[in-house]
Symmetry: C2
Subunit: 394 residues, 2 copies
């Protein structure tokens, strides 16, 4: 296998990412990392492969790869199992690290316990934290990938009106949108961090179903079609007065954008129309306000204050059940750092990519509001999902 | 939330499952389990919820549930975080267990480390192993769910020919089959065990793409559409002489069946036609041979011997790259126990549900063979995916 990032012509991009990882390693005093999760291998290799990346804080990283993939350069070494790694490190002139990072939030307990045995003399630290911090700020290449996602997702959203017909149920409508996405090249699979997050190709919420709570930690709920997957569309027949919130999969190339737009059957009530306007106004405000150096929690508070000023606080981020965030990082995974919530005291940094989704759930109508994925620039937010935001009639 | 299995009318089913878990607990000398993974909570509650099941080896199980779900009976207790569990156990008259099981293969390292702190005096054992063993043998209710899956999956497979048109690519064809599945009620999301398994709605392999290796541990490979998800359809234009292997999602109700059928564009070469016949012959043989008490490894060896006798060994379970198993348990997850591979010395048991997939990859044609999901009965295998097995022409 040729790894897109490991090829000589892409070497600068690989080094750029390793450099980002090393900045985070130094902060956590890691002498080396051993990376084995799918998402982090994809980040480093540019392709999914079984194996382990060994990243020393200085010196050449090694990629221990497991067949069927085969080495294509001197820094790739074929192994059958991780137990071969310590001897191979010594053989290649590396010292055993005193402090090594393993991915506590990305690998199951049994795998970490197995990997810990390779470094019996070393202190073990959390590499998930290190990688999350590194991945939070994107390279030019990564943002270009996400721009591509946003363009394609926008193209699909512009066709959504064409597949609706009167009397459809939410799930029937969703199936047609899934097909549009797949035809545009959406890979279908959504990478979400956390062992307890599950979703198919995104969520479509129609009318009162938007107010049904879900056990998953998404911004909105929905009862789902079955107790085994209680999120999203529930089989509601789409009727006049209902809002239709489309928050579907924007993953076309290993990265993804997160984007929500709303439609309505006939006309929604005045309160819902006003709340949708308020959501757009919050986005306009945050697009200008959110610059490098801004405290992330203040973005949340600003949005909440606007909802309050518009008299819409009780509907903000849900009605029966409220989400505690209005946005989140996005990239390889749908839910990366930072989380835009009240108590987040960290500062916004240039080239973070974040989805902002100030939404409302309005009795008698359903969910309204927009979501865009943005890149943080010196002068404010750049929208990666540029598509009209008005409540469109189906 | 009302949990389907926890309701009074379903109480017998719940007790039946807890009884199965306790048999496995006794084997591993577990005094209690604390279960927090989505799949195992679904097994015990019949619905997905955030929280933790506490199962003592004797006495009443407790379900600590996290909002938005609310308790609906005396054995359900609302908590905000797992740290509340020890005090609640004591308050409800439970002793702290000397030996407690946590799910080593289903929860990330960080979560297990957090849960271990709740039981500082206890020995910790692997509850994933216990639950896997319990879930391997299905109840009558579970097999009924899987029969429903098999009927619906078969119904969709009977419509596959209608959505084909000449000149399609594999991915275009797959998208239409995904839509048929979703319209029939397929939930879309596929639960697969293991942190490094990823797939969208199953796999469609056309012609030479079937011989492309994949980093995932599925029976067949395929290059995929992007290095970020290297499995399955790769954009191949479907041409005369190519085989078309359909191995798609059979999950309609929290359970799933695994089923493969093959089509061909025009006619495939003689070797491929013969190999397809051989696959069906292996299934016929194993349907009669596989009874409770049979060594599982012998099922593998029997299949391999038949492939050898038919002169097809080099194409068996792949050509450039060979899978080491011809089948696997299936249920809530696609890949449950037992694995039907050469070195599995365990014995088949009544009411196991296993998918058998003796497949071949034939140069010049592609992948051929069938897969059915079976329930193990006293008199042999009962096919839960009854649909004609011949190579159909598109």
């Amino acid at each position: 296998m040729q790894f897109p990032l490991l090829t000589p012509e892409n070497h600068t991009e690989f080094e750029r990412r390793v450099e980002r990882v090393r900045i985070a390693m130094e902060r956590d005093k890691a002498e080396a990392l051993l990376i084995g999760s799918t998402v982090n291998i994809f980040y480093l290799a540019g392709g999914v492969c079984r194996g382990y990346f060994y990243i020393p804080v200085a010196g050449k990283p090694l990629f221990f790869i497991i067949p069927p993939a085969q080495p294509t350069s001197a820094s790739e070494i074929s192994i059958r199992k991780p137990e071969q790694i310590p001897a191979l490190l010594l053989e290649h002139g590396y010292n055993m690290p005193k402090r090594i990072g393993l991915e506590f939030d990305d690998l199951y307990y049994s795998e970490i316990e197995r990997l810990k045995k390779l470094f019996p003399e070393s202190d073990i630290l959390d590499a998930s934290r290190v990688m999350r911090s590194a991945r939070m700020i994107k390279t030019v290449f990564e943002i270009a990938k996400m721009k591509e996602d946003g363009m394609r997702q926008s193209a699909v959203y512009s066709r959504i009106g064409h597949v609706y017909h009167e009397g459809m149920s939410d799930i029937e409508f969703q199936i047609e949108i899934e097909r549009l996405l797949r035809q545009e090249g959406c890979l279908g699979y959504l990478r979400v961090a956390g062992s307890k997050m599950e979703i198919n190709m995104g969520s479509l919420l129609v009318g009162p179903n938007a107010d049904e709570p879900s056990p998953y930690d998404f911004s909105m709920g929905g009862a789902g079609m079955d107790p085994s997957l209680p999120v999203g569309a529930s089989g509601v027949i789409m009727k006049p007065g209902m809002s239709v919130m489309v928050d579907m999969n924007g993953g076309f190339n290993g990265y993804q954008t997160d984007m929500t737009r709303c439609w309505m059957v006939g006309e929604v009530n005045e309160l819902a129309a006003k709340a949708h306007e308020c959501s757009c106004a919050i986005l306009r405000d945050l697009e200008v306000y959110s610059r490098p150096g801004v405290e992330i929690g203040e973005m949340y508070r600003r949005a909440e204050r606007m909802a309050q000023e518009w008299g819409l606080k009780e509907y903000f981020m849900g009605h029966r059940h409220h989400a505690a965030f209005i946005g989140h990082g996005v990239g390889i995974e749908l839910n990366e750092g930072p989380v835009v919530m009240e108590r987040n005291k960290s500062l916004l940094e240039e080239n973070m990519t974040i989805a902002l989704e100030p939404k409302f759930v309005i009795p008698g109508a359903g969910a309204v509001g927009c979501e865009n994925t943005y890149a943080v620039r010196a002068e404010g937010l750049e929208n990666l999902t540029p598509y009209k935001e008005n409540l469109q009639q189906l």
